[in-house]
Amino acid sequence: MKTSLRLAGLAAAAVGLLLSAGAQAQQPIKIGFISTMSGPEGVLGRDLSDGFKLALKHANNTFGGRPVQVVYGDDQVKPDVGRQVVDKMLESDKVQIVTGINFSNVLLAVLKPVLDAGAFYISTNAGPSIVAGRQCHPRFFAAAFQNDQNYEGMGQYLREKGYKKIYLMAPNYPAGKDMLTGVKRYYKGDVAGEVYTTMGQLDYSAEIAQIRAAKPDAVLVFYPGGMGINFVKQYAQAGLKDQIPLYAGAAVVDQTILPALGDAALGMYTGALWSEYLDNAANKRFAADFEKEYNRIPSPYAALAYDTGRMMQAAIDSIGGKIEDKVAFQKAMENVKFESVRGNFKFNTNHFPIQDYYLTKIEKDEKGRLVAKLQQKIMSDLTDAYSGDCKMAAQ
């Protein structure tokens, strides 16, 4: 009796060993996806994660022959909360890649623990200048953009357009200053006013009256989220829309706020790193499948998160799923070949994108919904201004 028990025990242990050996080959690739899912900015996290989930679906949830397991977390736009969520992902979930963050201040708070733990960070959105320059890192990749890029193309366009005197406005926080710095890097004419307003400001009537008095040739604003709704509505209501053209850079007046803006946004010009009208096969498939899956037009947030997922898949496929070999995975990401929904995409030496910049105009589509219609390409192979400061270390 005793021996048979022992035998049974041995057999069970052996089977267990076999099972775990089998699991070794099929061990999932673990990804931590942290973003702003709650509160007024929750719309950003929703679009980012929806885009990423669609990329997983298109990949049959398999990267390089291994199943992909994603842990989702909410940073609540708070750097300290983001830090806690990421610590848990790294320590108990043992994630190998972290992604998803939309706010640069949250990203900067979680970056050190992620990189110190030996994991990769591949950004679907935020791309702060410091990581593009002096603090560039072999395991950090910005798949979306360097923050300033969103406005640099617009600066170039306003210069080409021949405007002599423009008026700039943004909320008073680091990204606001980065964006306007991006504009001024390419626009060389006069700046009639450069106004920074309080974060989350509701009423812009006083500032709009000042614009009217300053009589600039054009107004360029960076007001993401609810601030964009407030400003664009009030600008139109003040009757200025038809007198002084209003411009915004990329990822500001998009599908995260267009449904709420209504006709106030019609005719406005905005920059874009991606548009649902870009003519390439990957983009057509993405735009059609996204609308079928979620019953709405994708935003640039969703598109760039989708692109990030596709890029990870291509890189991991090319090394047969062995992302534990970190040097190989880094090389695979640096030289990644995939069909980007943006068309032209490659990584610069600082692991930030080299990509094209477009102009779009807010119009109605055939179903009467507000969309950003593609107008023209403004710049090709736009790099960022910080890559010269980056000396990429070896892992």
Partner: protein, 290 residues
């Protein structure tokens, strides 16, 4: 600054002030009479805007939507008072702050579940979508003039009710000395419920009027709540007259501060004003409690 720009900016200031007054009137009454700090007052503002946006979508008529949304917000206020807040009158301010802060989180997520995360559209009614030439070369959005008039009418109405009616007398009595008013036969419970419903309706109205010019989105009540608290404290807790004067003051000072001062100073000028006024009159401009 030219004269026409000065006039335009003054109008902007008064209009912002009037909007703040709609929001603060309910807050100051509830605070003054029931001694209850209701942080969820901003949620009523948000609810007003969302109800109105929903009814506009259904009926297509702005006025009708407002007429439907006001009672909805008032009922929401009454339910809030009956179910939760009534139990907290006798508790300390810290408990009240905690429970009403909790309510903010709950309402924000409820709105997210019902209306989704994307801000909802709320167009300006066609009749008021244009601009009015108030003087040579100065165009002013008609809808903002409408906000201004609604605010002034409500202020006048509140003044008449509070100062010249029996109900108003009860309210004032309750605000200045609750136990004494109760001992003299005022049905304090009823007055409380009335005041709460009226305050909720006013906050909702403020949200509805703000909807067409700002974003109707989750969490829209919080930024304005902070300004309304400043107004309440400057005006003297419980004083409608104080709230009106303080709201206009904040509206004008904020508008000119933003335009004339460098940004760092401009954004804190109203808080410096509050500090100055409180140093001079610690109970606000028009203290109600003896």
């Amino acid at each position: 600054m030219t004269l026409s720009l000065f006039i335009e900016q003054s109008l902007n200031g008064v209009q912002l002030g009037v909007q703040l007054f709609l929001m603060s009137a309910g807050l100051t009454l509830v605070f003054g009479i029931m001694n209850l700090i209701n942080l969820a007052h901003g949620s009523l503002y948000m609810a007003g805007a969302f109800f109105a946006a929903m009814f506009i979508k259904i009926t297509g008529n702005f006025l009708l939507a407002i007429a439907l949304a006001i009672p909805c917000t008032a009922i929401m206020g009454i339910l809030m008072e009956l179910i939760v807040l009534r139990r907290f009158y006798a508790r300390g301010h810290l408990d009240q702050v905690l429970v009403t802060f909790g309510l903010i989180l709950i309402f924000n997520d409820l709105v997210r579940m019902v209306w989704g995360v994307v801000p909802v559209p709320m167009p300006v009614p066609a009749l008021l979508s244009g601009s009015v030439e108030i003087m040579d070369g100065v165009l002013y959005p008609a809808f903002r003039l409408a906000i201004l008039s609604v605010g002034l009418v409500v202020a006048l109405g509140l003044y008449v009710v509070v100062v010249h009616t029996r109900t108003g007398m009860w309210i004032r009595a309750g605000a200045s000395n609750r136990p004494m008013a109760s001992a003299l036969g005022v049905d304090v419970q009823l007055v409380f419920a009335l005041v709460f419903a009226a305050g909720a309706a006013l906050a909702g109205l403020a949200g509805m009027m703000a909807g067409p010019i700002t974003a109707v989105q989750v969490g829209m009540g919080e930024p304005i709540l902070i300004l309304a608290l400043v107004v309440t404290v400057i005006g003297g807790i419980g004083s409608i007259r104080g709230a009106f004067i303080a709201a206009l003051m904040i509206g004008i000072v904020d508008t000119f501060g933003r335009v004339l001062l460098p940004h760092a100073l401009g954004s804190m000028v109203i808080f410096m004003l509050m500090a100055l006024i409180l140093a001079w009159r610690p109970k606000g401009l028009f203290p109600v409690h003896g």
